[in-house]
Symmetry: C2
Amino acid sequence: LPVQEPVQFYFDFASPYGYFAATRIDGITERHGRTVVWRPILLGAVFKITGMQSTLSQPLRGDYLRHDVPRFARLLGLPLTIPESMPVSGVVPSRAYWWMAGLDEAKARRLARALMDAHWGQGRDISDPDVVAEVAEGLGVERGALEAGLQDEAVKRRLREETERAVALGVFGSPVVVVGEERFWGADRLDQVDRWLAGGW
Amino acid sequence: LPVQEPVQFYFDFASPYGYFAATRIDGITERHGRTVVWRPILLGAVFKITGMQSTLSQPLRGDYLRHDVPRFARLLGLPLTIPESMPVSGVVPSRAYWWMAGLDEAKARRLARALMDAHWGQGRDISDPDVVAEVAEGLGVERGALEAGLQDEAVKRRLREETERAVALGVFGSPVVVVGEERFWGADRLDQVDRWLAGGW
């Protein structure tokens, strides 16, 4: 069999739909024998490039999102606590992810899931480095190492480069799943991703 | 059994996702013993009210749409010809619909489907009153009556009022399906509509 390139899973920690997709993407890709790379980015930076704005701040669409998110979470059977700060800044959790990914990608993914569960499941403010450090400690990550990682210029650069690469690939929202030349935008498109990985249509 | 209010199906003729949803909404509502009212509106007028703009004209999102629409049509097994004029003005087909709906709602729905098939299936320009008249003639509609209907002040007012009502209901895109207090945005949410009509979750 030819080696297939990994599926790319782009998301912003501030995006509830990214949280929904994160709970499903590993199972879907595994079922088709594919690997997946998680790639947190900063949609705020994407919006600056594209001239768009956060859904939350758009008239009508923001209201729709506030109603749709709890409804979608109930459908998926996921815990949800709407955070007081929404949208949260994804800078700190994203840097934590990219720092950890440089050491251990599987552990970085567990950290991302734990951070999403803290933010979207429990409503915790993951823009706070102390909260991120506490969540990371739960995975056995030493606080001092994490704090140093958050300040590492290479980590900061990596997040900027990942965001720029996402824009170059046409990523404009969260989540976006990239399969080869195909992009699928939205948590409500994971069934299409599943079918595409099964051989397309 | 209590009488249940009809499902509301909001769409813009210029929206390919409205076309996709139009091919499925009757089957879904019928399966659950519900009626549905088709309500074409003008998203351009909605965007003026909400300060948003057409997806097509947004960086990255427009490119995504141009790729996603043919892919989605293939998934649904629907004919698709990307129209040369996109987005088309929905004024003429929408007025034709609301004129006909005042006489015969079932026939108005068949007209809407025929207009969508002409535009999205065959790439025809349904902003042209002659094209709309020709499509309507295929359903036995007399051309002179249609042309008079398109100029009828009551019909023009109806379309404006329907669009304003849609905004008041929080409709900001196409398609939006309204079930009681619930709104579902997007052709990719019809499976959720189906489950909601089956009793929700």
